[in-house]
Symmetry: C2
Subunit: 222 residues, 2 copies
DNA sequence: GCCGCGACCTTTGTATACATTGGATGGTGG
DNA sequence: CCACCATCCAATGTATACAAAGGTCGCGGC
């Protein structure tokens, strides 16, 4: 793997996981020393982060980690909802039903996975299942432009998710919503799939903007 | 202006205007010599082009101008339509009516601008008017994530537009459609604005995919 | 004559040295 | 005492030199 790739993925993970907070300055010499690469590949990594929206260039001051907060999540979903709905609609038309039927079954059986004893293990497995459905939708939609538009949105979403941890109750609901989406896709029912996706996204947004989940970010800003 | 910015905008324009055709190899030494910059800023320009989707990296072969054709325009609009509709819907809610009313008037009076004697001059002025409306919508929507998702789509769209020149009749229809959008926005009518936008985009797509306009691209590939 | 292997060469990836710009700080004048 | 300007410094922007990797061409063997 190239040095610039390593620098990029390390910085990207650091930002998404809030080890690098908004406003933090990514000085070239400092970061190149920290990551053990030269300034040239680091600059390439930084420019990729800027293109992705995870950082912004302050003229003369280098690049800083871009601001984001739970307040931005509404704007984020205003862009996300139409994109995901469009994707799922196309996927229902073009996709192979045989791909989505097993996924629907998995979501139907995901209950024990979520509130089992090995908590974090089960949650990780569930998140993996969600990722597989997302990937199957991307494959079925087979639209590179749609994917390109969704990519930065998903990156930002991953970042705000860390501010509001999902609880088991929400995850159970989420599994049910995902099952509905997968079943509609397996049936090739575009209208139903879009509606189910819309329901899921609205519920997710509602959960994220519920104030009871805010406030543990204080630990990240001592 | 920085050398990397100059290299980026020059290459970007060259690709959009089809001076650099899909499949063309952007060798670092060759392009840096052509643009009169060193390899370092050129690499930054290339990585920006890759992030934008105008070029792709072929391992070991450098970066090549990405493929695009009129066949891709349907996929492009599958991503564009939901985004523009979402933007116009939000703009109708948040926007200032005083901004859009004059724009609607301008579109209403755009007829002579289009099929006047100074053909290309008038068309350029009309395209500028369209750009102003787009910008006003972006400002009114005030959603950076939506804008970020739209940016690559618009870039690709500019590229395919060069394959199918607009004719005066289509432009007159386009002006009328834009007028409808602007009026709905001035009235703060989100539903109507979205519908008008949807009409406009479907008509545009229909025009672009009408086969009578293909075929002058042969001059670009001798 | 065709396939495979190897060497050469072109091209990209990386590092470092140098130039330049923007900012901060301290001093001076009003 | 405040404000403005000049100087210094640190950080980025750029260029070039070097290394590594992949591709292509040619030669030899089958």
């Amino acid at each position: 793997m190239r040095a610039s790739d390593r620098a990029y993925s390390t910085l990207r993970t650091d930002i998404i996981d809030w080890r690098l907070a908004p406003g933090d300055i990514l000085a070239e010499v400092e970061q190149s020393a920290r990551l053990g690469v030269s300034r040239t590949p680091l600059r390439e990594a930084l420019s990729r982060l800027v293109a992705e929206g995870l950082a912004t260039t302050n003229t003369g001051r280098g690049v800083v980690v871009s601001e984001i907060s739970l307040e931005a999540v509404t704007d984020l979903f205003d862009a996300r909802i139409p994109l995901e709905c469009a994707a799922v609609r196309i996927a229902a038309r073009r996709g192979d039903p045989a791909v989505f039927a097993p996924l629907a079954e998995e979501f139907a059986c995901a209950g024990p996975l979520i509130d089992g004893d090995g908590d974090s293990d089960g949650q990780a497995a569930y998140y993996g299942l969600v990722a597989r459905l997302d990937h199957a939708i991307d494959e079925a939609a087979a639209n590179p432009y749609l994917l390109q538009a969704q990519k930065p949105i998903r990156t930002h979403l991953a970042r705000v998710r860390r501010l509001a941890r999902d609880n088991p109750i929400r995850l159970l609901h989420s599994a049910h919503e995902h099952e509905q989406i997968a079943r509609a896709l397996a049936d090739g029912n575009a209208e139903l799939a879009e509606a189910a996706m819309r329901v899921h996204l609205h519920r997710s947004l509602q959960h994220l903007t519920t104030p009871s989940h805010a406030g543990h970010g204080a630990a990240l800003h001592p």
